[in-house]
């Protein structure tokens, strides 16, 4: 096990990484079909693609971290490593990993050994490669690194175990670990996907700064074009194992050549709408190859499209000035209307002592008051832990408030009888976040969709099931199939169909697109917008992503730490956020630099 990293390459111009014809095969077929890519020292390259495009495994191949089931061919050179990386033994490569080339993985929650203190985990990176002489200097270096990644209290964090840190802190630790030995190459594999938007912005800043300071070559992998655009000098777009487009970030984003890139850009840009005010989807994008959308060819826009109706006429917005947020009624209904949902002083305290708050419970909601009027499309925005999901559960009568009251359609949920609750639940339908988890894998679609129907004859149930499936754009042959036979977007359509079958008055959408690929996201958002008009729904749309709600909703509630901090009309809120947190959120939301802002004038289908 001798390390073979050699002296720096003779020519300064030599790339840090040089990939030629990299192919990756699995037992089931070829996943990566020969890609070429160079990264010069200090250069920051973004690798863009949707799930299954082969971007992550390509990066793993660079470090010899591929799964055993996968095999890589081709020629990969990393400055400092002798020979073709793909031919190197694990022990040879291990001498380079963490020293010449490091990697940051997507999921910070599981990337750290739960049984080891942070200090030890970072220190061993250096001790392993003997870049520090002893433990004491390692400790100094660890604290320094933690300070560099802007961890609040480096001393405390160094002593902590991973579970004592938040996701953002853990990811910083992982970055610190990756940069501990000043590697020539840093690979970041979706490093911020699992993080909240504001945290994402901070982490991206840290990565950019550190890489720039150290002149490290960066390979940044993401599905999120906006994120990549904020980091990378140069991007490569991957699809189905091919690099379909490659060039300077500005060029590619501003003038994409390949149809897929165009479509992807269009779909990512939630400001872009087509001629009818609908979001651009990959399929509806100009020059798109028919039948080759990333989400699968079966992703078709729904039949029965309707133009988006402008902001709801009843909408009266509270300026949100003065007073403690908790005492204030947000989004109040006009005095002459009875709100459909009326919450006053709503609190939810979870018992128990998770996370060290001994004695006192955990506050999911702190005295929240708001109204929702009939027909309103209200977005509820906040980061994880902001209380938006708790709010959803209470409105859907899945949970009870510990204090305060909420009326839905005139029924007080706290005091409702079983029968009233049952009636109410028919009026309130929910579309959930995760299309994998929200459909029972052992039930056929017909059973899933008709599940909420009670007291309805078999024939009528079948008829209504077909009806709602048609409304979400699925054929009858979907009825007898199981969820796993559908793509993510289609599953979300099934989920929506289930929500609609009781002909509810209120539709609660809980992050309905956050688990979907970019291209499909637009389709589903269009569908929700369409259907809420078609079915005269009052929509509560919950999201962590301001960009997503912006398109669908006409008013927003912004939540933070169990409180509503601001409520405004969508456009107003974007234009001039009042609360500091809202401002942070707006500014942290990555935007596509260089992208065209014009409406795509693709041919309508």
């Amino acid at each position: 096990m001798t390390a073979t990293p050699t002296a720096p390459p003779p020519q300064a111009a030599a790339p840090t990484v040089r990939i030629r014809d990299l192919r990756i095969d699995a037992a089931t077929g070829t996943l990566v079909h020969g890609i070429d890519l160079d990264i010069a020292p200090g250069e920051r390259v973004g690798l863009i693609g949707e799930s299954g495009s082969g971007k992550s495994i390509s990066s793993y191949a660079l470090l010899g971290l591929l799964d055993e089931q996968l095999s890589a061919r081709g020629d990969v050179r990393i400055a400092g490593v002798d020979g073709n990386v793909l031919d190197c033994s694990d022990s040879t490569l291990s001498a380079a990993r963490g020293r010449i080339a490091s990697i940051v993985f997507q999921e910070p929650m599981t990337a750290l050994n739960p049984l080891m203190r942070i200090e030890a985990q970072i220190a061993e990176t250096m001790l392993r490669h003997r870049t520090v002489p002893d433990r004491r200097s390692a400790r100094r270096a660890v604290l320094e690194l933690l300070a560099q990644v802007k961890v609040p209290d480096p001393d405390r964090v160094a002593r902590a175990f991973p579970h004592q840190l938040s996701g953002g802190q853990r990811q910083r630790v992982v970055i610190a670990m990756a940069l501990a030995n000043d590697p020539a190459l840093l690979i970041c594999d979706e490093p911020t996907t699992a993080l909240d938007v504001t945290v994402q912005a901070q982490v991206l800043d840290i990565i950019s700064d550190l890489v720039r300071d150290r002149d490290t070559a960066l390979l940044f992998i993401s599905h999120d074009l906006a994120v990549v655009s904020s980091v990378a000098d140069r991007v490569a777009v991957m699809r189905h194992g091919h690099i379909v487009e490659h060039g300077a970030t500005e060029t590619v984003f501003a003038a994409p050549q390949h149809s897929y890139t165009k479509a992807l850009l269009a779909a990512s840009d939630l400001n872009a709408a087509d001629g009818r005010g609908r979001l651009v989807t990959v399929d509806s994008a100009p020059d798109s190859e028919p039948g080759s959308a990333p989400g699968g060819s079966e992703e078709r826009p729904s039949a029965g499209q309707r133009p988006v109706v402008a902001a709801s006429p009843h909408l009266v917005l509270d300026p949100g000035e003065g007073g403690s947020p908790s005492a204030q009624v947000f989004n109040p209904a006009p005095s002459d209307t009875v709100p459909l949902i009326r919450a006053r002083g709503l609190s939810r305290v979870y018992p128990g002592s998770r996370g060290g708050h001994r004695g006192e419970g955990v506050h999911g909601l702190r005295a929240v008051s708001f109204d929702v009027v009939e027909g309103q499309k209200l977005g509820i925005v906040g980061e994880s832990g902001s209380g938006k999901s708790t709010l959803l559960r209470i409105v859907a009568a899945l949970d009870k408030a510990t204090a305060g009251g909420i009326e839905v359609g005139g029924t007080d949920l706290g005091r409702a009888s079983r029968a009233e609750l049952r009636r109410l639940r028919e009026d309130v339908a929910v579309v959930f976040q995760d299309p994998m988890s929200s459909l029972d894998p052992r039930m056929k679609v017909s059973a899933i969709v008709s599940e909420p129907l009670r007291g309805v004859g078999r024939a009528e149930a079948a008829e209504r099931t077909r009806e709602v499936l048609a409304a979400v754009g699925l054929d009858d042959d979907a009825l007898t199939r199981f969820p796993h036979q559908f793509s993510g977007g289609q599953r979300q359509r099934i989920s929506i169909a289930r929500a609609l079958i009781t002909r509810p008055r209120i539709l609660i959408a809980d992050e309905p697109v956050s688990a979907l690929d970019v291209s499909v996201r637009a389709q589903v958002l269009n569908l929700i917008a369409d259907l809420s008009d078609q079915y005269d729904l009052t929509l509560l749309f919950i999201s962590h992503d301001l960009g997503v709600v912006r398109h669908v909703c006409d008013a927003l509630l912004v939540m933070s730490s169990g409180e509503i901090v601001e409520s405004r009309g969508t456009a107003d809120l974007y234009a001039a956020p009042r609360h500091r947190f809202t401002a942070d959120l707006v500014s942290a939301t990555p935007t596509l630099k260089y992208a065209r802002t014009t409406v795509v004038t693709g041919e309508d289908r």
Partner: protein
């Protein structure tokens, strides 16, 4: 952490209490009349009544239970109506024998199972890994007494290397003790090793899929180094569980091996007392075994909190 251990001990005591109630009801109330057992069927009603009074059977169930449990707490298991001898002394010496047997067996099992399981996991795609895995599968499937029988036939009867059975107390010469211990420990240990190695393998496989192992490799560790430094401690947790469970169950599970090797341990005592319908003795044995199993669970639980910082936090 102290608090959490205190809480666990509380739960343990509660569980032992419930178990003792069940045992008492099952063995004191359900079967026949111990006075009859003591005196035989021909005993006169007067003699029976006197015997019942002497044994406290004319008291209410509650009093009887309190008597029994009070005795246990004072280390008194009562006097057997069958042998007229105190149960505690015999039980203790039998427990001692079985404990030695089981602990040695478990030690052998772990010594074999951990490397075997790790290798079987790491090399699961290679022929040797598959072979090891298959061997452990076969090992689980072979009845322990068959293994013991074959060991005796070969090593004791045919080769005369080791005694065919029996037990030698250490004060009769350590060499003899070891010689007597070897075959039964091997029979017990090998079968347990097969069981535990499956768990080792599967938990190592689980750990091998963990992200932090990939992180460790990203830091510059080779796959085996990463596994040793970061994987094994994590993988140890489920192995700890199963070892604890197995250890408790072996106290009686070893009876088969005890019988084959004519070792008069706890399991043999249970068999003998059950056959003689010495229910008070059976009751004592069951109580000891159940308490031991629960105690082992407690120890395993406490070990968790030592191994896993998440639990330290969560339960404080």
């Amino acid at each position: 952490m102290i608090l959490s251990i205190g809480r666990r001990i509380g739960v343990f005591l509660l569980t032992v209490f419930v178990a003792s109630l069940i045992i008492f009801l099952l063995l004191s109330v359900v079967p026949g009349d111990p006075a009859q057992v003591a005196l035989g069927v021909t005993a006169t009603p007067e003699a029976l009544a006197a015997q019942r009074a002497a044994m406290g059977l004319d008291q209410s169930l509650l009093v009887q239970y309190l008597d029994w449990i009070g005795g246990l707490l004072a280390g008194d298991f009562g006097t057997s109506p069958v042998t007229n001898a105190p149960i505690g002394a015999e039980l203790l010496s039998r427990l001692g024998i079985t404990t030695v047997l089981v602990l040695c067996g478990m030690a052998v099992a772990l010594i074999i199972a951990v490397p075997l399981g790790v290798v079987a996991a790491v090399r699961r795609k290679r022929p040797d890994g598959v072979l090891l895995s298959a061997l452990s599968q076969v090992g689980i499937a072979v009845p322990a007494f068959l293994a013991g029988l074959l060991l005796i036939t070969v090593f004791a009867v045919q080769l005369r290397w080791l005694p065919a059975g029996g037990w030698a107390r250490p004060d009769e010469g350590l060499g003899s003790t070891l010689a007597h211990l070897l075959l039964p420990v091997v029979a017990l240990g090998f079968v347990q090793a097969a069981v535990i190695s499956r768990y080792v393998r599967s938990s190592v496989l689980d750990v091998m899929q963990e992200d932090y192992l990939r992180t460790a490799r990203g830091k510059g560790f080779t796959a085996p180094e990463a596994l040793v430094r970061h994987g094994l401690r994590n993988a140890a947790i489920p192995v700890l569980t199963i070892s604890g469970v197995q250890l408790g169950h072996m106290l009686i599970g070893a009876v088969v091996v005890e019988k084959v090797f004519v070792i008069n341990g706890l399991g043999s005592m249970l068999l003998e007392k059950a056959a003689n319908r010495d229910m008070l003795a059976v009751q004592g044995i069951v109580m000891v075994v159940v308490t031991a199993v629960l105690l082992i669970n407690l120890v395993v639980d406490v070990l968790y909190t030592v191994v896993d910082p998440r639990l330290r936090e969560a339960s404080s």
